[in-house]
């Protein structure tokens, strides 16, 4: 039996307006080489200047990951040549990163696992190189983007753990508002390393896996790799320390054709940037940047609102949704009702419109009002769904929609009696059958009455008036 050890290195793009060390816009998807200046293009004579917001976000993340925060964080140059790296060194951190020795609790299946964080460090991204036949095209818009690298200890065991970790981490950075966590667009990237050994022996020879553009690939690649290494070990083949790439078309990891040159990054202090010592005021703002973290929130949603684990899982996935939920409940709506609406009808409409809850016309106030209108018997559940449609399309309050569309429920027995009479007259044979004891036909009559009322008749009143008229 073998034991496996997985560690992750995650890079996130910090959601700042400008780049890490110059005033260029940090925008994704702009025309190539438009967000560039002499600094991020590495012209002679330029100097880096530290982005306040980006370094603050770095401290927020490190704090959320329970790291020891550096009182005197330092920058280093990491030296290696690469065509898309303008200076051929990356400004990064080495000796004194923003945070180190932290941890994060994540949920894997039904249990909670603590994953240790080795360090959290701030650095700059490189440009983008696009291969086109026998040429490569360089775009430096991304060069100098503020990046945060999070390095975990090898505390994960199988691919599923890593996938769960990434989902939790993605949710965390979205909660903190420091990154959109989009792995497909590359604003969150992950390299993984894995080693195996017979149980009890400890860490083995580390294999690094790159080119993992989704958490699904991370899972598949790691499980493939554990399998592969186990096979090697079974055969007594030595596992070599190497970097392998995930081939998503073949579902396998592959050794890099050309061995990377033995790297020696020659880290040394960045002479152009003085160390940064966070002031009390800065640290106060970092504290203010921390919100209730996802896992804690999920647990609170269960204990405070009686949601089940799956329900709380759904509600807490996005901070905006969780806030929305709690607000609607605060406004008086029943928690389970709010959950039901959010997880079914609202979700359907959001999908149909390819919108987020945040961008939609539905507010917590509107949903709470809609639910209370049902409870008060003003509208039926069925009408409520139509009202919801109108809210999405017209951006109006439910009361206004009901007014304009004449959707308010009819519960006046005299008004309903007219519908009942009409239907009874048109269905004399059925009425006789019911009177003869065939109760099953009652439902048919109710349906007909609802139909002629345009769905507005209050079902309970219809039932009682009909019963009285048919059976006396």
């Amino acid at each position: 039996m073998y034991q496996s050890f997985i560690g992750l290195e995650i890079h996130i793009h910090l959601a700042a307006e400008t780049k890490a060390f110059c005033g260029c816009k940090a925008n994704f998807g702009d025309e190539e080489n438009t967000n560039v200046c002499p600094v991020c293009m590495g012209f002679p004579g330029v100097l880096p200047t530290l982005n306040e917001k980006a370094i603050q976000m770095s401290y927020v993340v490190a704090r959320a990951l329970n790291c020891k925060l550096s009182p005197n964080t330092k920058f280093e140059r990491k030296n290696y040549f690469y065509p898309d790296m303008p200076k051929n060194y990356q400004i990064s951190q080495f000796a004194e990163p923003v945070g180190r020795d932290g941890y994060i609790d994540i949920e894997i299946g039904d249990s909670i696992k603590r994953v240790r964080i080795h360090d959290v460090h701030f650095e700059e991204d490189a440009g983008k190189m696009i291969h086109a036949g026998d040429m490569s095209l360089l775009d430096y818009n991304r060069a100098g983007y503020p990046l945060l690298e999070i390095v975990t200890e090898p505390d994960l065991v199988i691919g599923e753990d890593a996938e769960a970790f990434l989902k939790s981490f993605q949710r965390l950075v979205r909660y903190l508002g420091v990154c959109d966590g989009n792995m497909e667009e590359g604003s969150m990237r992950c390299d993984a390393n894995v080693s195996i050994n017979p149980v009890g022996v400890g860490l083995g020879e580390k294999v690094e896996i790159k080119n993992l553009n989704s958490s699904r690939f991370v899972r598949k690649a790691l499980n493939y790799e554990i399998e592969r290494q186990s096979g090697l070990m079974d055969n007594g083949t030595k596992i070599i320390q190497e970097t392998r790439l995930w081939n998503e078309n073949r579902d396998q990891t592959e050794g890099m054709r050309k061995k990377e040159d033995a790297n020696d990054y020659r880290y040394f202090p960045e002479p152009d940037l003085p160390p940064f010592r966070p002031s009390d005021e800065f640290m106060k703002e970092v504290e203010e940047g921390i919100c209730e973290l996802p896992l804690v929130r999920k647990q609170r949603l269960m204990t405070s609102y009686g949601l089940g684990s799956d329900q709380a899982e759904y509600i807490h996935d996005e901070k905006f949704m969780a806030d929305f939920f709690e607000k609607a409940v605060f406004l008086g709506a029943d928690a389970v009702q709010v959950y039901s609406w959010l997880s079914s009808d609202v979700k359907k409409l959001l999908n149909r419109n390819s919108q987020s809850l945040e961008d939609s016309n539905l507010s917590a106030e509107r949903l709470a009002r809609l639910i209370s209108m049902i409870e008060d018997g003003q509208i039926s559940g069925k009408i409520a769904k139509r009202v919801l449609d109108h809210i999405f399309d017209e951006d109006k309050d439910p009361d206004v929609i009901c007014d304009e569309q004449g959707l308010v429920q009819i519960s006046d027995p005299a008004a309903i009696a007219k519908f009942v009479d009409e239907v009874m007259a048109a269905n004399e044979a059925v009425v006789e059958a019911v009177r003869g004891g065939d109760q099953r036909q009652m439902g048919f009559l109710v349906g007909q009455i609802m139909k002629v009322s345009g769905g507005k008749a209050a079902p309970a009143v219809v039932q009682s008036v009909l019963k009285e008229k048919v059976l006396g």
């Binding site: 260029c24 002499p38 293009m41 040429m135 775009d139 003085p274 002031s279």
Partner: protein, 93 residues
């Protein structure tokens, strides 16, 4: 300094040295390195390295877009090889 050491160093520095350079620069690097051995004479245990001479205060740049006197197009014009707005480099398949 061994010749292989020089080659590794040159590769790290993205330099290729021809025969003559390997000889000449190798000698000069070695001469300087032996000169640097002088530093082993002085005891500096307990002293902090000086990485920044006089800095005492934090410096931060507000996260707001800055206009620069150099336009992106001017920067691109400096590149040896361009295709539209891309900088072009060779890459044999």
């Amino acid at each position: 300094m061994e010749k292989s050491d020089l080659t590794v160093t040159a590769t790290l520095a993205s330099l290729v040295l021809d025969e003559a350079e390997t000889q000449k620069l190798g000698d000069e690097v070695s001469r300087m390195l032996s000169y640097f051995e002088k530093m082993s004479e002085i005891d500096v245990d307990g002293l902090e390295p000086t990485t920044h001479a006089l800095q005492k205060e934090n410096r931060l740049r507000p996260d707001r877009g800055l206009s620069n006197e150099a336009q992106p197009d001017e920067l691109l014009e400096c590149a040896p090889d361009l295709e539209d707005r891309f900088i072009l480099i060779p890459n044999v398949l």
